[in-house]
């Protein structure tokens, strides 16, 4: 049984209330940080932990904090990115729903480290129930003296607010999020300047994912060195994986980084295998924007080594035979799933969510959606696959923010690994939507599990 740093108490009745959370050792990190450490020492612990941003980019959190400019007389801000909208990812919603005080405790410690006296949790607007949960938890924490003026008599002041978004995936990009928080359209800003220099209201700002901020709590409680002992290589600590798709046991799991993907997929402690006794066809390992991999390439690297749930192992082979950890949005596809339909679905998502600021993304995502739609519905041409690859290349790297890349990678990788399935849609237009397209990619290295339907 793997250790649980974030989800240890998730099933304790009433853990969403201050008193129960406190009785389980909650807010000890706030006491330790504010009473015994300096802000720089907190940053140092996070650096030592090796924590990497859990929102998708995987940038070292401590390093990001140390970049924060500290001009005298200028306010600094911490903004929590809770705009969880990446298809496949639902860990932050889970964490905020069941253990909101963990996020609030992390916000207090991180705000103290950064010298922020006002912090915001930007939550996607659709998560109104979670917004209400967080607001109640903030009120509780404030009533107990953990927020507001002179926290625990240490002289440190912090106000924490929840900001609802308006329903736009692009606001998960940190500069678009800041624009949105300023009451504008969520159009990403050109970087530099980075938010660490000029962020919210032009002031130095750090934007961190919910899980990254929550992870600060065990790091301060146990020390950065202890946290760094978990995991493998530069992938330290635990990671929340939101597992969905055709799994026996979909859900949010906390794993030690470095867990073999085979164990994660097939053991009863985690996903329990593929639902209905079917075989695994493909996996999206880190949210819809990362390259899709057929089962055989996902289970083992090109060097025939077992693939691990770590930043490095998942990326091994680059975009030719590897993928990315991303946000930990894990989607498993069984043998009945149509990759063309799935790729079209994702292309529609990115077209819908493009903010429209950059022409390659605004126009290119629409082209990809249209071409994939005609392929799925039996009107495609053999030249469409090359056209899609060409369009994806023209989007990738040519936009202000990474949404263009996120739109291009699923399409390019699906064609790379499942080209014969796309061709089958062209050669079998009338059967294209019936999804009987052979078993070319079901080279599952594991035996078909005889399991009951979930």
């Amino acid at each position: 049984m793997a250790r649980k740093l974030l989800l240890e108490h998730i099933n304790v009745p009433g853990i969403n209330t201050f008193d129960v959370y406190r009785s389980k050792g909650g807010y000890a990190a706030v006491e330790k940080a504010l009473k015994t450490l300096t802000p720089d020492e907190v940053v140092e612990e996070v650096k030592k932990s090796g924590l990497r941003g859990r929102g998708g980019a995987g940038f070292p959190t401590g390093m990001k904090w140390s970049f924060l400019a500290k001009p005298a007389g200028v306010a600094r801000y911490l903004v929590c990115n809770a705009d969880e909208s990446e298809p496949g990812t639902f860990k932050d919603r889970y964490l905020m729903t069941y253990i909101p005080h963990l996020l609030i405790e992390g916000m207090i410690v991180a705000s103290f480290a950064l010298g922020a006296n006002t912090s915001y949790i930007y939550v996607r607007g659709e998560m109104m129930p979670q917004i209400r949960i967080l607001e109640k938890a903030i009120a509780e924490a404030k009533a107990k003296g953990f927020l507001g003026k002179n926290i625990l008599g240490t002289g440190y002041d912090l106000e924490l607010y929840v900001q609802p978004g308006g329903g736009a995936y692009i606001c998960g990009e940190e500069t678009a999020l800041l624009e949105s928080l300023e009451g504008k359209r969520g159009n990403p800003r050109i970087k530099p300047p980075f938010p660490a220099i000029a962020g919210l209201y032009g002031c130095p700002t750090v934007v961190n994912n919910v899980e990254s901020i929550a992870a600060v709590v065990p790091i301060i409680n146990d020390g950065g060195d202890e946290y760094a002992k978990i995991g493998i290589g530069r992938s330290t600590g635990t990671k929340l994986i939101s597992a969905g798709g055709n799994l026996r046991k979909p859900g949010v799991y906390e794993i030690d980084l470095g867990l073999p993907v085979e164990e994660f997929l097939y053991s009863d402690e985690y996903c329990g295998g593929i639902a209905n006794g079917k075989r695994l066809k493909a996996v999206v390992a880190g949210g819809s924007s990362v390259p899709i991999l057929p089962a055989n390439l996902f289970m083992k690297t090109i060097n025939n080594e077992p693939r691990l749930m770590s930043y490095e192992s998942l990326a091994e082979g680059g975009f030719v035979s590897g993928t990315m950890m991303g946000s930990g949005g894990f989607i498993a596809y069984d043998e009945d799933q149509c990759i063309v339909r799935n790729t079209w679905n994702f292309a529609r998502f990115y077209h819908h969510e493009s903010c429209g600021q950059c022409s390659p993304c605004r126009e290119g995502t629409g082209w990809m959606e249209k071409v994939l739609h005609r392929l799925e519905y039996g009107h495609g041409k053999m030249s469409d696959m090359d056209l899609l690859v060409d369009v994806s290349k023209k989007i990738e790297g040519n936009t202000i923010c990474p949404l263009g890349d996120a739109a291009a990678w699923p399409v390019a990788s699906a064609i790379r690994h499942f080209r014969d399935e796309f061709e089958w849609h062209v050669t079998h237009p009338h059967e294209a939507t019936t999804r009987n397209f052979g078993l070319a990619h079901y080279a599952d290295p594991l035996p078909k599990l005889e399991v009951a339907a979930s």
Binding site: P129, Q163, G165, G166, R185, P250, I331
Partner: protein
């Protein structure tokens, strides 16, 4: 051109609603009251069911910003309705993970049951429905949510959808 259904009905916010607006504005530094725009539009929509042009003009007036600044925000974000909707808007997640576990049949079932196309309102004014992009509940699909409280329903089946619609009808 802004695609909204216009109305000449003037909008006067109640003192209670204005108090809520003021509370939101107090969260930001002096002079940064525009940050309150998204939360205030949510409050307006919760009160009136949608955001009309006169309502947006009144919000602009309250925040001391130009009306165009409100229009461009309201038309950018998908959560703001620029025309009247049914009392209950059923929003079904239609993105990848929900799609592979049956979002499309659920949307077809809702269309058939309510008898109106996506985005239209039932004659009794009670229901609208639409497909929306990822709702961040991918392990529990298909899912839908219903505003203005955004109550959430997971692992939908045609039967559970019938039950849900029946309960809402009975409530009204």
């Amino acid at each position: 051109m802004l695609s909204v259904q216009d109305t000449n009905t003037p909008v006067t916010f109640s003192p209670e609603l204005l108090d809520k607006f003021a509370d939101v504005v107090s969260r930001y530094p002096y002079g940064k009251q525009k940050s309150a725009l998204l939360p205030i539009l949510h409050l307006v929509q919760a009160e009136y069911g949608w955001v009309s042009v006169p309502a947006m003009d009144s919000v602009a007036n309250f925040l001391s910003i130009q009306p165009i600044e409100v229009y461009e925000v309201a038309s950018f974000y998908t959560m703001y309705f620029l025309k009247p909707q049914g009392k209950y808007m059923l929003e079904v997640c239609r993105t990848g993970p929900c799609e592979i576990v049956g979002a499309t049949p659920i949307m077809e079932h809702i269309e058939k049951t309510l008898g109106v196309k996506e985005g239209d309102v039932t004659p009794d004014g009670l229901f609208s429905w639409r497909g929306v992009e990822c709702l961040a509940a991918c392990g529990f699909g298909p899912v839908l949510q219903i505003g203005p409280e955004y109550t959430f329903y997971e692992n939908l089946t045609p039967e559970s959808v019938d039950q849900l619609i029946g309960d809402l009808r009975a409530k009204s």
